[in-house]
Amino acid sequence: MKKSVITLGLILTITSVLVSCSHQTPGNPDRYLASEKCPTKGEYHSYFDEVEKCIDKSNDR
């Protein structure tokens, strides 16, 4: 029984990952490019906020 649960869990995980990956649309890579284009200076307190705003903007497009 335990073995079956583990096997099922493993299959579910692999299937989820494969399905999610296969559903990536061509538009998505732009988001990552947009994040990289956003200038994020190395200031500790503003860094993550800048990243978050950058991701927001790329979503708005």
């Binding site: 559903h23 990536q24 190395g42 978050e52 991701i55 979503n59």
Partner: protein, 398 residues
């Protein structure tokens, strides 16, 4: 076995109907103290090598929903759930509005790193600062923000609560952690409990931050914080913050000023009957060229701290007596002035890595009931001392 086979067959067939694509992004900020040299007057000088800050933030998003989890890996991890500095979900379905729910930072300050060290408002001090108003993080919160850069402003309003609550029994009485060295008990703390959601019948916190973008270069911030714990005897705590940032291709300037009042019960950690504090930070980074820049930062902190009065008392038939430490500070008024001056040179190694080399001078002056230059003041670390620090740090963000 038969059921398993059926499941194996069904899962790949049915899952695509429920699965959607999602995007995630993992970002991090690491600052390594490559070689620090610290000297506090009266103590031996020491070199410090290690991790300054190490934070990871994971962003996940799908349609109008987003989630973020920030792991504070350099923090004190022995406390329950302390690794999660932030964990919240955001709904972005209404134009220019954001609804946030979860655990995280209550925004009201204009926080900025100094030159070689963090701001007093985030614990950056060689000598030890005595301010109660630090970065308000790890709080359960519900927030609404409205605005955007294009509108010229962003306002975020937050309702929040502490993730640690004072434990009360069925009668609503606080429970003590006490020791019994002789015949009478002494109280060392209150019993507390970690909560994942706060109860407004016990406590409520409000926070607001308005960011006003005057033009491409100037940004002004106005923040307020209010916190009321409904346990009997607790006064409301509040703070106001005003900040400004200037940014151009030649330089960046940051300013932050804070006034705060706080009060705690007698046996809480960092207790005070009434503490008023004034904080000012002014700094600038001047870009010499694409690779090199100069950073200057100055901070001043004035704290007036009225201590509780500790006496013998009887509760529920038990006699409690104050400890010698509590007696020593009973009813005293401390006035503490701390300042630091920092200067550094930054060299940009790559687009997202830099090395910073610089120095810091810091001084603390403390008086107890008007008496100055005391060598020791109870609960004030390095009461009348100065310190300096030389630092070389490597920062990397990704």
């Amino acid at each position: 076995m038969k059921k398993l086979l059926v499941a194996l067959f069904l899962v790949p067939c049915l899952l695509p109907l429920k699965a959607y694509s999602f995007d995630t992004s993992v970002r991090g900020f690491i600052a390594l103290d490559a070689l620090n040299f610290e000297k506090i007057s009266g103590d031996k000088a020491a070199s410090v090598i290690g991790i300054g800050v190490l934070d990871l933030k994971i962003f996940a998003e799908q349609d109008d929903m987003a989630a973020a989890i920030k792991l504070d890996l350099d923090g004190k991890l022995e406390k329950e759930n302390n690794i999660f500095e932030e964990a919240y979900a955001t709904y972005k379905g209404v134009p220019n509005m954001r609804f946030l729910l979860g655990k995280g930072v209550v925004r009201f300050q204009n926080l900025h790193w100094g030159a070689i060290e963090n701001s007093y408002q985030d614990g950056g001090s060689v000598i030890g600062s005595d301010n109660n108003y630090r970065k308000v993080s790890r709080k359960a919160f519900l927030a609404v923000s409205y605005g955007g850069r294009s509108l010229g402003f962003i306002n975020q309003f937050t309702i929040w609560g502490d993730s640690t609550e004072l434990y009360t029994n069925q009668d609503g009485k606080l429970q003590y952690t006490s020791t019994e060295p002789n015949n009478a008990k002494t109280i060392t703390a209150y019993r507390t409990e970690e909560v994942t959601a706060f109860n407004t019948s016990k406590q409520v916190g409000l926070g607001n931050k308005l960011e006003y973008f005057a033009n491409d270069a100037w940004k002004f911030t106005f923040g307020q914080l209010y916190n009321k714990n409904r346990i009997q005897g607790k006064k409301p705590n509040y703070a106001f913050d005003i900040g400004a940032n200037y940014e151009s291709s030649a330089m960046e300037v940051w300013v932050d000023a804070l006034y705060g009042f706080s009060s705690k019960l007698p046996y809480e950690s960092y207790t005070t009957l009434a503490k008023t504090e004034y904080f000012l930070q002014v700094g600038m980074e001047y870009y010499l060229n694409e690779k090199w820049s100069l950073v200057e930062n100055a901070e001043a902190l004035y704290v007036k701290d009225q201590q509780h009065t500790y006496t013998r008392f009887v509760e529920d038939g038990i006699t409690y007596v104050p400890t010698s430490q509590q007696t020593e500070k009973s009813g005293a008024t401390y006035k503490i002035f701390t300042y630091k001056l920092e200067s550094a040179v930054k060299y940009k190694l790559t687009k997202s890595a830099q090395i910073t080399v610089g120095g810091l001078y810091e001084k603390k002056q403390t008086s107890r009931n008007g008496v100055k230059n005391l060598a020791f003041v109870r609960d004030v670390r390095n009461a009348n001392r100065d310190a300096y620090k030389l630092a070389a740090a490597i920062s990397f963000w990704f």
